[in-house]
Structures are given as C-alpha cells and as structure tokens.
Amino acid sequence: MKGATEVKICIKFSILLLTFTLLLAGTAFAKMQPNNEPVEGLRVEDVPHDDGGGLILSWKPLAKEKRIIEYRIYRGHTPDSLFYIGKIPVDAKTGVAADTMKYVDQGWTFFVDATSPAKLRHEKGQKKGSKGAEVLYRAVPRDIKVYGPLMDEYRILSVIPNNEYLYKSKMKIFTEVDTLEDATVDTTTEFMAGMKLEQVKYILTKLTTGKTYYYAIQALNMNRSVSPLSEIVSGKTTDDPPEKLGNFYAVALRDLEQMQFEWTLPVFTSDQQQFNIYLYDEYGDRHLIFTRQDAYPYTPQTNAIVPYDSIAANFEAFNPANMEWYTFNIGEMDRQDQETLALDEPIPAEITTSSILPEPPIHFTVKDEPNDKGDQLQVFFGYPFYGLSKLTYNNDFTKLTVNYFINDNSMYEVDRLILTINGTTKTEYVLDYKVAFRVDWDYLKPMEIIGTFICKKKGQEPLPEDYHITHTFIFNTKQEMVLIDSPPQQQMEEMKKYYYQIYKTNRLSDVYRYAKELSYFEREYIDKISYEENQYRGRPKFSLEDKRLYYSTYLSIVNYKDKYPFYTQALYLEQLRHQDNELRDEITKLKGELEKATDDEERTEIQRNIDFYTDYLEDKPEVVQKANQLKSNKARMKMLYKAHCTNARSFKYYIRKTDGKGHFIDTPVYTTPDGTQYLFPIQNWFNTNEIITLVAVLIFAGLVYFMIKAARKGKRLYIRPIAGIQEIDNAIGRATEMGRPILFVPGLSGISDVATLAGLAILSRVAKKAAEYDTRILVPVRDFIVLPIAQEIVKEAHYEAGRPDTYDKNSVFFITQAQFAFVSGVNGIMIREKTATNFYMGMFWAESLLMTETGSMTGAIQIAGTDAVNQLPFFITTCDYTLIGEELYAASAYLSKQPLILGTLKAQDYMKLLIVITVIIGTILSSVHLTFFMNWFPVK
C-alpha cells in the first residue's frame, strides 16, 4: 500500500519537475533578444603591396549587449548573389573590446568539394522581402551549374589526388576553330583530363586582379537569430608595386673578384617576380648587373653573388679599380613588372678581401635518415655545441646548479660533457641537462664555464684537442639573477654573429630553393621530404553535359640537361602522338619557308626554330623514350610517374653561412663519397631503435611458451596467495547470505584499455560464482563496445554454472557515456538496490572515490582492482581489499586455474626476475661510468 502511494508521489513529483524545467527552457528560448541592428561602417579596401589578390574588410562590432557570437561574411562578384565565405567567432560574454573588426580576404580560401551542399540555398534568417533574403546564399553548392560559371570570376587552384588524375581521368579533345583576318582557318586542339568533382580533393579560390567584389556581413547572437544584413559594399582589387626590400648590403671582394649582396625580404613576398641589382657609375647612369628570375616553386632569395666579369658583361666600362666610384641599389619587380627600389639613395660597396668572410662550416654532410618511412634526409655540419639554459645558486653562493643543453649531430654524437668552473671539473656521464657545482663564488666577479666534449667513436675524425666552448656569467645584484654570456665573451660573440641558410634543389628544377635557416647553435636539420599525394592545377574547363571538370594534361618529369627544366610529358599516348605530329608539320612548314626565305637573318632565325623543334622531337630523356614505347596508357603513366617521384624527391644541398650583412660563404654542394650529389630518401624495413624491444618481446614470448608447455604437462605452478583475490569468494557469499545483489563495475574505459579486458576476465569468474550461488549481479557499463562483451560474459557464466534460467539480460546494462552522469547512476543503484558487494575492476579516473565512498555509506563489502596509480590511494583507503596494479592482471589467472593463463602469469614472473637482474647489472655498470649498457634502452 505504502509502496503504491510512494510510486504515485514520485511520478507526480518527477513529472512536475520535468515540466517545470522544460517550461523554463521553453520561455528561455521564447524570449529572444532582439538582434535588430545591422552591422555598421563596413568598408572594403585593397590590401597594399599585394599581388592584386587581396581585399581587407573592416566594420564596427555591435554592442556587447547584443550578445553576438559570430560575424558571418558573404562575398560575391555581383551584388545580387553573395555566398557565405567565413565567420569570425566572438565570445558573447566578453564581446569585442576593439572598436573595429577586420577580415582579410587574401590568399587561397576553400571554394567547393564533394561534401559541399547539394543545392543552391538561400541563407535563412533574413526577413522575407528584405534585401538580404534575396541575395544571401549559403556556401557554394557542389552543383556544377552553380560553381562552374562562378569559377570564371576568381583565380582557381584545384587539388587532385595523383592516382585520380593520372589513371582515372577521362580524356576529351577540345577543338577551337577561328578564322584569321587573312581568312586562313586556325584550329587549335586541346587534350584535357575530365574529372568528376568527387575525384578532386577540393578547389580553392583567390580574388583576381582588377575586379570588383561585393561583401556584406550579418551578425549571429546567442540564440542564433541574425541581424539585418549590413549594406552591401564593393571593393576593387588592384595590383600595387611590391614593398621595399630592407637593409641592402653590397660587399666587393677584391681577391675573389666578385661582389656579394644581401638584403632582407618584406612582409608580403608572394608577388615577387624578380630581383634586379643596379650599379650606378660615376655619371650616375644605371646599369642592370644582376637579375634573378622567380623560381618555381616560389623561393625567396636574400642574397646574391655577382662575379666581376658578369658585371662587365652588362656594363662594358666596368673597372674594379674604380669600385669606390660605384654605388648600388636593388629593385624588386612583381608579375606586372612594377618595380620598387629598396633604397632612395644607392649605396657604395664595402670594398675588402675574402679575409673578412667567416670560416665555412666543416664536415657538411647529407645522409638518409635511418628508421624512417622514406621521407627524411639529415643535413648536418660542425662540432657539437652546449649552451646554458639556466643557472641557480644557493643563498651563500657556494652551490651552483647548471642547466645546460646540447646540440650535436649524428657525426659527432656527444657521449660525455666535461664542464670546468674555476678549477673544479665535472664530467657528465649521463646527460641529464643538470650539474651541480660546489664553487666558492665571489658573485661580484664574472665567472667562466669551459666545456669540452667526448663523442661516440664512429670512425669519424676525432674532435680537435683544443675544441671547447666557454660561457661567461655574472650575478646581477640588482635583479638577483645570473646573466649568462655577459659580459659578451669574444668566442660567443663570434659564434652568435653568424647563422646558416640551407639551400636545396631537386631533379625537376634548375634553381636552388631556400630550405631552412639554422641559428648559430644548431648543428643538424632533418629535412622532411613528404610523399607527394596531389597534383595542383589551375582553372578547369567544365561541361554541364557530363558534369565533368577538364584539366590541362601534363606531368613534369625531370630537369632535362638544364635545357628543359620541368620537362613535361602528355598524359595520354594519343595526345603525345598528336603533339609530335604537330611539331613535324611545323618543321616541314618551316623547311618550306626556309626555301623561300632570302634574307640571311630570317634564314638563320628559321633555321634556329627548325633545330629547336627537331632537337625537342629527337632528344628525349630515356625514361620518356622507354615509356612512350609502351602500348597501354596506364603502364606508361606508371613508369613516368615513378620517374617524376624519384626526381621530385631527390635533392642536392649546400649551406651558406652568413651574418646578414653580405659577409657570407658557401660550402660546395655536398657530394657523397661515391660522387653523387642528389640524395633520395630511402624507406627502411626495420627500425633498428626497436631491436631491444624485439629482443625483450621474444624473450617474453619464449617464456610464455615454455611455461604454458610446463603447465600443460601438469607441472604444479605455485602462486602465492593474494589477499584481495581470495576474498572475492567470501564477498560473493556474503551477498548471497544477505540476499542482496552484487555490483560489478568493469572500469570506465573502453576495450582499447587493457585494464578493462583484465576486469572483464575477472567478471566472467565472478559472474559464474554468482550464478552458482544464484545471486543477482548488476553490471553497469559506460562503453558501448564493452556492453555486448559484458553481456556475453555474464550470459555464458550462467550457462557454465548450469543456471541459464536465472540469466536476466537486463543485469548488464548501459548507463551513459558521460563520466559523471555514469557515476551518479551507479551511486543511485548502490543506494536503491542496496548492493551487498561492490567490485571495481578496470580503469578508473577521478570518479573512483565518488563510488567507493557511497559504497561504504551503504555498508557494502568493496573489492577494487586497477592499474591507475593516481586512483589507488582512494581505493586502498576506502575499499576492504584492493588489487594493486599487476595484481589486477594476475587475478584472472588466479581465479581460473587454466594452465594456459597460469603459464603466462608464471612467464610474467620470471620476466620480472630477469628485469630486476638486468637493472641491477645496468646500475652497477653506470655507477662505474660504463653507460653503454643503459644506452641500449630507449629514453622515451
């Protein structure tokens, strides 16, 4: 009776509360804040010094009270259709403190791909009838009818996965026939690779130069209600002359008969076409003495070497003797040939000799990185370096703790560091970046730390005897802190002055590109040469009939004899033949003209063209010749692509050591002992760093094997009693006596966590016992995938116990994913089901105590087992028994006396013994400074 009323109450109650909260929530959303003010003061301006592909928007942010969460930007090439291009998220609580907001529409932005919306949709939210409602569209859809035409309004960059482009494209021939003035018909045929949008990874856009674009902004508030559309503002992209280059230096080296120039790049470099260095002679006439064309891919250049004779070639009257008369300047030119000079007044050269140049870096080497997947080369040079990261002293300046760091390379790998502070010397056998010195330090005087190295012997020539690095430091009484390398000490001065620039080029290009800059203390650079996945192509043609995009068809193969850098090949055999024929026709045509031609100049001109074409026809790289013999298009592409990859991914390197003021010197291009310059990263098939792991695993596996064998033979394997595990049975028994259920929580983690699996293993034993005693067992689960497993286990347990009838499939149930919601659920169960015994076996986090304390409130017997070290304290204090770490894993073996499992446990034990012995040996060795043994083991 009482129960019934209780039920009634709780129903009424809960319904009431629920409706109450729902009402609140409802009203909360009914009461939308009015978001009725449009964004004001929208301005669109051209980005200065850019390549004519950038506009910058600015506007006044709405008031903080408006609770705006994001500003959405729309763009279009006509004012009557604007597409969503991006948003600026804002924190509603803090709002925007600044009085203007900016959005820079520059560079490549996402345009469309296969996952874009299917149809062209108006942006919702704008009031019907208002301007916004008509012109605003959501992101560009994947409907070619829409995005196709749009592509003509922008610069387009398509990213296409290689195998799609090379092997799965559909060839199509476009022929254009146009009649010239003299009524001759000129037909141009173009072969193109047709691709469906889903074959393309994605397409990017950028604004085109000299075109007008329209922008508008709407603001979203906390309830996602949108503000009225701002006024639609237009802006025109203009291509301005490039920015000035900075600090230009000119150095003339008499003895080397060359000039060296160095300068720094401006912020915006993507528009640079070429650098021009000018010489102004005594009459102030300007002579172009050096130009450097832009290289593909674009590579910023910050310095140049110009030999006297190449100057003379451009300026006959050049006379090195009069060098002091000449002045120099540099200009930067963009793609529209607009030029900006770096200096208003040209500067004279610093006239000197090569003695001023730094020493070139020694032992410059490039090697394939071992143990990689074939995408790394190591570039390294020089002797090891050590620096001081921090010095700390005790109050009476007798103890000084030195934190150091080491930069070395695979040629000179530091084994020991020997540090000396006035007299006292310490050797670091184990490089733990920390040494403590007992020095009596008169802290008013500067001190010196002298460091020398002992490197691992690897057949390289030993370090010079006298090689050492000295740091000085003083104690700054005012700030009570130690200042390192001050007063500046000559040697460090020297070192800090220079930095290293690594240049590289591959087999496709003819220009060195700037790979990396290393600071004065770096000694190694791992050059990541990632596998090529995509081809990049410009704007495609498109056809609405077969819904395909058509891309130009070529693949760059090699820099052929420096005659044809980026020597390309057609994708299709048919195309290839067609091209060759065209050439042949051209040649015959020219030959005909040659007959007719009378004027010598004209003849030589024609002859040159003929030679050029014939040469191009006959002289082909052999891989191309081989490939073009193949009948199948696919086989041909495979061969060509292989060549392409090898050439694109093999590099040659040199290093330039410079002070940024024109005093720089280059190493020769690195050449391996066998004379090759290009290095190709090789993929490795065994990771030698893991040898020790392999050994360990094998030993362990071996142990397991033998132990299992022994166990099978029926050899009695002793396992010492483990308190927690023995208690499990009694705990279950207790529950039975009290006629209350058992609670088993198999951890909160998924099956990827080994602890969970151990927990489940225990569950299967516990469930079996429970089934035998016919006691209810409750298994709340937090992970979906653990759920079915646990269900299977419990069900199976009942079968094994011969009590399939008692299996209740609701005894194993899912509560929820959320950590604490789960815990609250479990607590509820403990209290309401009055569980007599609680098991916690597996992975637990912060929630552990929440459950165990509730458990002890209800006075349940609790047994826990986990390998989560941070939770063990809570279990140990609040549970009756706790399986610590490995005991959890041992438990299942202990409970199921299966020989297989017992065997593994035994193997584990002997492995442990082995570890102890090894560790003791290792420690003894390292204590007598023999670190080789410990160095076999991985650091991390």
């Binding site: 809960s14 009693p721 604490f820 102890v916 204590s927 410990m934 991985p938």
Partner: protein
C-alpha cells in the same frame, strides 16, 4: 534572459546534486535521471555530426569511396546483438576493433617496461637515487607471485609496501587541492553568478 534562466536552472540542478549529501531524495533522483538522459541525448547528435557524417557518410556516399562499404557493413553487424539467435555475428566488429591489442605487446614493453628500466639504471651517486632504486626493486619483488612473502624476502618486499604506501599517501595529499578547487568553483558559481554575494 536566456542566460539568467540558464543560471537559475544550473543553480537548481547544482543544489539537487548537493542534496545527495544529505540523503538520497526525490530531488537527487530527478537530477540523476535527468543527467543520464541529457548526457546520452547529447552524445547521439554529437556522434552523428562529428563521427558518422565525416568518417562514414561523406567518404562513402559523397566522395564515392566505395571500398568503405565493407567497414560500413561490419559496423552494422553490431546490431545483430539484438537478435538472440544471431548475436554471435556482432563479434566480428568487436574482433576488428580488438585488432589494436597487437600493438600493445611491443608498445607497452617499450614504453612502460624498457623506458622505466633505463631510468632505473642511473648511476647511484646520491642517497635519493639509491632510495628510489631500492624502492623500485622491492616493489617489483612484491609483485613477484611465485614466492610467498616470508623470511628475509618477506621483509624486503614489505619495504616495497612501505614505499607504495608513502607514494599513495603523497598522491592522496596532492590531489586534495585540485578537488577542493572544484568545490570552490561550484560555490563561486552559486554565491557569485547566481546570488551575486561575491563580486
């Protein structure tokens, strides 16, 4: 407005949760059940938008990466759970997701065993390192199951227990602060954001 109501609801639910400290009561029961429902309700759309769409739907149906039909089907096999007759089929996806354990063998050997061994092999040049060394060894032996803890050996392993206990005590004491911070956070919410006592 939405915010204030939000705060009120949050405050109400906070109190419901705290009421559990007094005893299990309708308010807590309500909050608990609500929490379970809401949290699960949160995960369903979340998984749909952030896992199903990008990893399953889009690659297969939009990018036409048809090979993915296989895992798609394997995934559906989970649902055979619901049939009592064919529930065994759901083991296939489980088995697939278990494949990872292979990695566990060498990885845990490397990351947890070998690396730890190296750190133990530091030269014994000061008392602390020696203590750490002894401690670790004795704990290792404590976990050696093939020998009962008796005699000298037993004594030695009990050193291990001591070390562990100190360790546990330490990490208990250390976590207290972080936990109290949470409570402070909640109370600041109640007194500050809700009632506005503290500014």
């Amino acid at each position: 407005m939405t915010e204030t109501i939000g705060i009120w609801i949050a405050a109400f639910l906070t109190l419901c949760m705290f009421s559990f400290l007094y005893k299990d009561n309708p308010f807590y029961k309500f909050a608990e059940h609500l929490f379970v429902g809401v949290s699960m309700g949160y995960y369903i759309p979340y998984t749909f938008y952030n896992a199903f769409l990008p990893y399953a739907y889009e690659p297969l149906f939009l990018r036409k990466d048809y090979i993915l039909i296989i895992p798609f089907i394997i995934g559906i096999l989970y649902w055979f759970r619901f049939s009592s007759k064919f529930s065994w089929i759901s083991r296939y996806p489980i088995a697939f997701s278990m494949g990872m354990v292979g990695m566990g063998v060498p990885m845990s050997m490397h990351a947890t065993v070998l690396v730890q061994m190296r750190t133990m092999m530091l030269p014994l040049n000061n008392i602390n390192i020696i203590l750490i060394f002894i401690g670790t060894i004795s704990i290792l032996l404590y976990f050696f199951f093939s020998k009962a803890h008796e005699g000298v050996y037993g004594k030695f392993t009990s050193i291990g227990i001591w070390f562990m206990m100190v360790g546990f005590g330490a990490s208990f004491g250390y976590t207290v602060m972080a936990r109290i911070s949470l409570l402070i956070g909640r109370i600041q919410f109640l007194l500050g954001d809700w009632l506005g006592f503290i500014k």
